[in-house]
Every structure is written in structure tokens, then in C-alpha cells.
């Protein structure tokens, strides 16, 4: 039982934080949003730091690191609200490493780690909402290969990615495929998301696809769990900064001749924010430390974590805006963007009610971290 970061992990954190401070200030981020919410050059810089290959083995050109390093990186990216989706690289690296055959790994993992390929998970469907086992996208065997047909929604950077991880029904059972964006029949209709990042509606019409695994549901669940752990860590970073901003504002802004931080009712709200932050940070640790656990235990842990993070994000985001007053609801103030980012967290990888349902459905007789 040990929650201290190693020197290597601390150095990784410092490196990412330094990059964010130097290369991704609010103006830069805003410019990227204006230009569409994604910047390939930035993504290339992040790849240069090794972040795209964090979960890719060193043999395949990656860093061969684990969930704790992923957490450290995502926390720092969260503090800077970096649009470019490193979490997707963690998913792609983790899932391909865990489920793909040797050829597929050899073909794609080095490209992911080396920034030649941005591979993103395309799994949301209109009828599925947050359910992972509802899938209308179909896969057909054709000649020696496969094609997929269907539509996936709100695919992160979907019109900028090079390839997609696509769950589809093959022979009545969910399998996972890799489809290149340049493949025939693929169309991607991109748009801004509420946090100022980018996503797309992606359609596949008999598009050539490569089978990753026939054990598609397990792979998809794993992919989403990697995403949840990364998102939890990112959210901790976002909230950490949100609390900092709020504290700074309250110690500066005067009303009735004194700073806002003088008012006890507001002070107690800040104490509650701190509570939610530390509970969330604790559960983010928990999620990352359970990411390599057996599937059932892992899934239970991710739902618990996402439930806590959702509650914390809601409280902190809403309290922060309220404590700021008018300035908190303006576009020009950075705080409102943290609010929007935290709103998007709730709408990603299952909302709080969904994960409450998962926790509720999978409760055991025992209780606690080690139960």
C-alpha cells in the first residue's frame, strides 16, 4: 500500500506540466478551438514527448508504461484542458496490445507511438446511449477480409483520425475491427464539441476493415475502462485547476469592501469543493490502480470511480461558476471553459446515473477498497 510517485513518474509529470505551461496557454487553446478544436501539430508535439506511445511496448517503439504513468500524464493534460486526445492513444495502444494479433500490432503500434497514426475508438451508437452491448453496426466477411457498415457518433477527432477501432456484429457476436479513415465508404462529418474540442459522426458503408479480435465486447469494455481511468485522471487535473482559479478569484475580488474569501458561507462552499476534489483524486488513483485487475473487478472499480468523478465534477464546476459570479459565465474568462470541460466529462463514457446503475447492479456483500 503505497501512493507515492516514483522519481520517474514525477519527472514525467514535470515534463508534461512544463510543456503545457510553455506550449498550451489559454490563447493557444482558444485559437485551436476557433480553428476547429484539434491541432495535428500539437498532437505531434505530444507524440514527441512519448505520450502517444505510453501504453505501447518499447519493442513496438513505445514507452511501455502503465496506468499510473497514464494517470500522471492525463492529470497534467487536464490542468491545461488539452484538446488533443492522448486518452485515445492510450485506448488504442492498450487495446491493440492486449487483443490484436502479432501482424496487426506490428503494423499499427509503432505508428501510434510514432505519431504516424491517430487511432480513435468509434463506438457510440444512436440506440445504445451508454450501453456497450447494443450495436447495430454490422461486419461481413468478404473474400479474405472484412467490411463494416454502420454509423458511430461523437467520435473524438473523428474527421482528423487516421483509423478507428470499431465494434461491429460479426456472425451475431460483437467483434472489434480497425478501419482506416481513407478506406472506401468511410465518411466523417466533424464538429466542435461543448468543451471546444472536436468530434465527428462517422459512417461506414461496406468499408474494408481488419479484424482486431472476435472477443469484441470484452475488448470494447476494456477500451472504455482505459478511457474511464484516463478521463478520471484528466478530470482531477481540470478540477484541481478549477479550485485554484476559484481560490485566487475569491482572494482578489472585493464586495462590500472585503474580499469574497471573507464570507463564511462561501468559505464553506470552498471546503466542500476541496472535499469533492480529494474524494475524486482518491477514486482516480483507485481507478488507475485497478485498471490491470481482472475484468469484473476492473469494471466495478471504473464504475465506482466514474460515479464519484461525475458527482465531484458537477459540484465543483457549478460551485466554481457560482462563486465567481458574472465573470464566471463569460467566454473570455478561462474558468467558464473549465466548467464546460467538466460538463463534457459527465457526457463521456457513461454519465453518473449510468455508473450508479452499474455499481448498484454489481454490488457484493462485502465493502471497501479490498472487497
Amino acid at each position: 500500500m503505497d501512493f507515492e510517485f516514483s522519481d520517474d513518474q514525477q519527472q514525467l509529470r514535470d515534463a508534461v506540466r512544463k510543456w503545457v505551461d510553455r506550449s498550451y496557454d489559454f490563447d493557444k487553446r482558444r485559437a485551436i478551438t476557433r480553428a476547429g478544436g484539434f491541432d495535428r501539430n500539437v498532437y505531434t508535439e505530444l507524440a514527441g514527448l512519448g505520450l502517444t506511445g505510453l501504453y505501447v511496448s518499447e519493442d513496438d517503439g513505445g514507452m511501455g508504461m502503465g496506468p499510473v504513468e497514464g494517470m500522471v500524464v492525463m492529470e497534467e493534460l487536464g490542468r491545461g484542458m488539452v484538446h488533443e486526445p492522448i486518452a485515445q492513444s492510450l485506448i488504442a495502444g492498450g487495446v491493440l496490445s492486449g487483443y490484436a494479433g502479432a501482424d496487426l500490432k506490428a503494423a499499427w503500434l509503432p505508428r501510434i507511438a510514432g505519431n504516424e497514426a491517430l487511432v480513435v475508438l468509434a463506438y457510440v451508437e444512436r440506440k445504445a446511449r451508454w450501453k456497450l452491448d447494443v450495436c447495430e453496426t454490422q461486419a461481413q466477411q468478404a473474400g479474405g477480409g472484412w467490411t463494416v457498415s454502420g454509423a458511430k457518433s461523437v467520435v473524438t477527432a473523428g474527421d482528423q483520425a487516421d483509423a478507428f477501432l470499431v465494434p461491429a456484429i460479426a456472425g451475431g457476436k460483437m467483434a472489434l475491427f480497425l478501419v482506416e479513415r481513407s478506406a472506401a465508404g468511410v465518411s466523417a462529418n466533424g464538429y466542435l464539441t461543448i468543451d471546444g474540442g472536436r468530434a465527428a459522426e462517422v459512417k461506414f458503408a461496406n468499408s474494408p476493415a481488419t479484424l482486431v479480435t472476435t472477443d469484441g465486447l470484452a475488448a470494447l469494455q476494456h477500451a472504455v475502462d482505459i478511457g474511464i481511468a484516463a478521463l478520471c485522471a484528466e478530470t482531477v487535473g481540470v478540477m484541481d485547476k478549477t479550485v485554484d482559479l476559484t481560490v485566487e478569484y475569491m482572494n482578489t475580488r472585493k464586495q462590500f469592501g472585503v474580499t469574497l474569501s471573507t464570507f463564511q458561507a462561501l468559505r464553506h462552499r470552498v471546503a466542500d469543493m476541496k472535499m469533492q476534489l480529494e474524494l475524486a483524486r482518491s477514486m482516480s488513483y483507485y481507478a488507475s490502480l485497478k485498471l490491470n485487475a481482472p475484468a469484473e473487478e476492473r469494471r466495478r472499480a471504473m464504475s465506482r470511480a466514474k460515479y464519484q468523478l461525475g458527482n465531484s465534477a458537477r459540484f465543483i464546476s457549478q460551485a466554481s461558476v457560482q462563486l465567481h459570479g458574472g465573470i464566471g459565465v463569460t467566454e473570455e474568462y478561462i474558468g467558464s471553459h473549465y466548467f464546460k470541460k467538466l460538463t463534457q466529462v459527465e457526457l463521456t463514457f457513461g454519465d453518473t446515473l449510468h455508473h450508479l446503475g452499474e455499481v448498484s447492479a454489481h454490488m457484493q456483500d462485502t465493502a471497501g477498497v479490498f472487497a
Binding site: 457510440v124 444512436r126 440506440k127 446511449r129 451508454w130 457518433s153 461523437v154 462529418n189 464538429y191 466542435l192 464539441t193 461543448i194 471546444g196 468530434a199 459522426e201 472585493k254 464586495q255 462590500f256 469592501g257 464570507f263 458561507a265 462561501l266 457549478q318 461558476v321 457560482q322 459570479g325 458574472g326 464566471g328 459565465v329 463569460t330 467566454e331 473570455e332 467558464s336 471553459h337 466548467f339 464546460k340 460538463t343 463534457q344 459527465e346 457526457l347 463521456t348 454519465d351 446515473l353 450508479l356 446503475g357
Partner: protein, 392 residues
């Protein structure tokens, strides 16, 4: 005690409903029912329709050309408009400045300003808040110096709603720095076309342009535009606030939006998910309880017996409910609330909606609703007020 409205009140409601059905343009109500962007033209078109009927100043007494309705009638009128999907009456002219002009303006001012307000021709803005004066309004600094028959105004107002359309603005300005801050404030009407008035947009977190900064740089204002006496403006402004009562609860809109929430939840397939449905059920009770609270205030006003001093409660609860329904609508759409496509929030967009058309504006509305617990006296200030009435 009786929950039912009287036959006369019912008849009144039906008359209003029929008139609204006949006169509210369908393109406008479509936008309101779907949280789509309302243009200046939309708002003013509706204001003029009301004005022509004599109902824009629906709270006005007969002596000033209003319908002379009692509190219940005003409520029924607001309710019918809200449920039908009418835009909210932009309050700055008919609801805010007009009562002050009636109560404290002279005959000349009444003659000059009230007709344009009643008809919807002249767009008014409200100049209260300043960058350093939010909750602590009395600390305002915008100066008005008397020079002969003019005031020279310098300073800045902020959070000025829809000032980009404003033709006139009523301002609280500082005319004296002696005594308590409240005592040196005057109430001034300013033509926004005057040289030295500059309006700068503030873009809100939902991307919308709803509020502004208004700068005054040596703006000359004829002394005849002063309402009442110099340094008495705070009193007039407080009078104005006392005219805003049940309406701040916005319960009629809440009823309309709760119905919309149910429609969206059904369309998204979550109305039959017990967990989500329970959240709607909680809000259902919240709305009923708020409406009962509003009706109690109205009843007290109607009877003239015991007034119910719970405006603070109405503001707090009403705003919380607004925030909650906007949040639940967004959550109902789940991942489909994530796209933020501004054009899709305009009526008549020809693009391909992500998920469904009803999903498009929901996150923006949720963002926009954050203001409701901040403006009009933040909920923290309201709690101070409520605590004062309870604890002394």
C-alpha cells in the same frame, strides 16, 4: 380556501389563451419551444403585437393606459403566454423603468416616455451593475456631474442585457459621495445615441451575445432626464424591485420546460429508465411546490390580508429549477448533447443534426442557465435576505 380559480378568472384565462393562439406568430413560438435563437426582430415583433393590444404594459394601471389587472390576472396572463411559447416580455421598459416613471417621474416625463414603452417601439436597457459593483450594488461609481442644465456622465455599466439593441437606458449614477453609499445615487434616463456612449459585447460561455458593457465618456444628459430628486435614486430602484414578485420564480416557464423535458426523455428512450424517470419525478414535485408557493403569494396579494414576504425563496427555488431542467434535458440526450454546432441552434438550419434536432441547443441552454442563480441578486444574497427575515 380553494385551489380552483373562480369562473371569472377561468374566463379571463380562456380569453387570453384564445387571443394568444390567434396572435402569437408560429415561427416565434417554434423557436421558444425548442430553445432556438431569438433575433431582435422576433422579440420586437412580439412586443409590438402585445403593444398594439395594450398588453405590453400588462402590469400597468388603467390611468397610464394599462389593463389594470390584479395580481392573479397578471399571473394568468403570464402563464398563458409562457405555455403558448411566447418570448418573455423584455422587462426593462414595460416592467422595470415604466413603474418608476409612473411613480416618481413628472407629467412631462410620463408623457414623453411611456407611450414608446407601451407600444414596444422603444427598446430600453437597464444600467445598474458595474464591474466593481455586483452583489454590492450601492458601491457603484459611475459619476453624473451637474453642469448647468446637463449632467455629464462618466463611468461604466456591465452585464447590460441586450444593450446592443438598446435605444434608451435607465441608470443608477453617483451624484454625491457624501454619507452612506446609498444616499448619493440618482436615477437617470440616457439616450444611448448620445455621443460618448459605447456598447461592447460580452460573449457568454454558451457563445451567445446577451449582455454588454456600456461605457459613458463625458456623455451629456439633459437634467430633465433625472427621475425624481437628485440622490434619491436608490429609493426608486428599491421601489422597482418590489414590483418584481412572483414573476421571478418563472414557474410558468418551468411548467412548459418540464413538459418539454418529458418529450425529450421519451424521444431519447430514457423516460422508461427508472433512474432517469425518478429525476424527472423529483423535478415534477419541485415545480408543483413552487407553483403552490407562487399561488400563495398571489392569494395573499389578492386578499390584501397578510402579505407573504418570500420573494427571496421564489428567486432561489425558481432559479434552481431552471438549472435543473436544463441539466436533465442535456443528460437525457447523453452523448448527443456533446456536439456544439451553433448553426444548429438557429431555426431552419438545413444541416444534418447529430442525434436529433432537439439535442442541438441543450448544452448551450444548460450553460446559459448558470446565470439564473447569479443575476437579479445572487442566490447567496437572497439567502442573506431570507435569513434576515427569519433570524433578524
Amino acid at each position: 380556501m380553494d385551489l380552483a380559480f373562480t369562473p371569472e378568472e377561468q374566463k379571463f384565462r380562456e380569453d387570453i389563451r384564445a387571443w394568444v393562439h390567434e396572435n402569437l406568430p408560429k415561427d416565434i413560438s417554434h423557436k421558444v419551444h425548442n430553445s432556438l435563437h431569438l433575433s431582435r426582430d422576433d422579440m420586437q415583433r412580439w412586443a409590438k403585437i402585445l403593444g398594439k393590444k395594450g398588453w405590453l404594459g400588462y402590469g400597468w394601471p388603467k390611468e397610464f393606459g394599462g389593463p389594470g389587472w390584479n395580481a392573479v390576472q397578471k399571473h394568468l396572463f403570464e402563464e398563458e403566454l409562457a405555455l403558448a411559447g411566447a418570448p418573455r416580455v423584455v422587462p426593462f421598459g414595460p416592467v422595470m423603468v415604466a413603474p418608476v416613471i409612473m411613480a416618481f417621474g413628472n407629467a412631462e416625463q410620463q408623457k414623453r416616455f411611456l407611450p414608446g414603452i407601451a407600444s414596444g417601439e422603444v427598446w430600453w436597457s437597464q444600467g445598474y451593475s458595474e464591474p466593481g459593483s455586483g452583489s454590492d450594488l450601492a458601491s457603484l461609481k459611475t459619476r453624473a456631474e451637474r453642469k448647468g442644465d446637463k449632467y455629464i456622465v462618466n463611468g461604466q455599466k456591465t452585464w447590460t442585457t441586450l444593450a446592443q439593441y438598446g435605444e434608451w437606458i435607465f441608470c443608477l449614477v453617483r451624484t454625491s459621495t457624501e454619507g452612506k453609499p446609498q444616499t448619493g445615487i440618482s436615477f437617470l434616463l440616457i439616450d444611448m445615441k448620445s455621443p460618448g456612449v459605447t456598447v461592447r459585447p460580452i460573449i457568454m460561455l454558451d457563445g451567445g451575445h446577451e449582455v454588454n458593457e456600456v461605457f459613458f465618456d463625458n456623455v451629456e444628459v439633459p437634467a430633465e432626464n433625472l427621475i425624481g430628486e437628485e440622490n434619491k435614486g436608490w429609493t426608486y430602484a428599491k421601489h422597482l424591485l418590489s414590483h418584481e414578485r412572483t414573476n421571478i420564480a418563472d414557474v410558468n416557464r418551468a411548467k412548459r420546460e418540464l413538459e418539454r423535458l418529458k418529450r425529450i426523455a421519451k424521444a431519447e428512450g430514457v423516460y422508461d429508465d427508472m433512474r432517469f424517470r425518478d429525476e424527472i419525478a423529483k423535478l415534477e414535485v419541485d415545480v408543483v411546490a413552487l407553483e403552490m408557493l407562487v399561488l400563495r403569494v398571489l392569494s395573499a396579494e389578492k386578499s390584501g390580508k397578510n402579505s407573504l414576504d418570500i420573494a427571496g425563496l421564489l428567486k432561489i427555488r425558481g432559479s434552481e429549477i431552471q438549472q435543473r431542467y436544463s441539466e436533465l434535458m442535456m443528460l437525457a440526450c447523453g452523448p448527443y448533447a456533446v456536439p456544439f454546432i451553433r448553426e444548429a441552434m438557429e431555426a431552419g438550419w438545413q444541416g444534418e443534426y447529430v442525434g436529433a434536432a432537439h439535442c442541438a441547443p441543450l448544452a448551450a441552454t444548460y450553460f446559459n442557465m448558470r446565470k439564473t442563480t447569479i443575476y437579479g441578486g445572487s442566490n447567496e444574497v437572497q439567502r442573506n435576505i431570507v435569513a434576515q427575515t427569519v433570524l433578524g
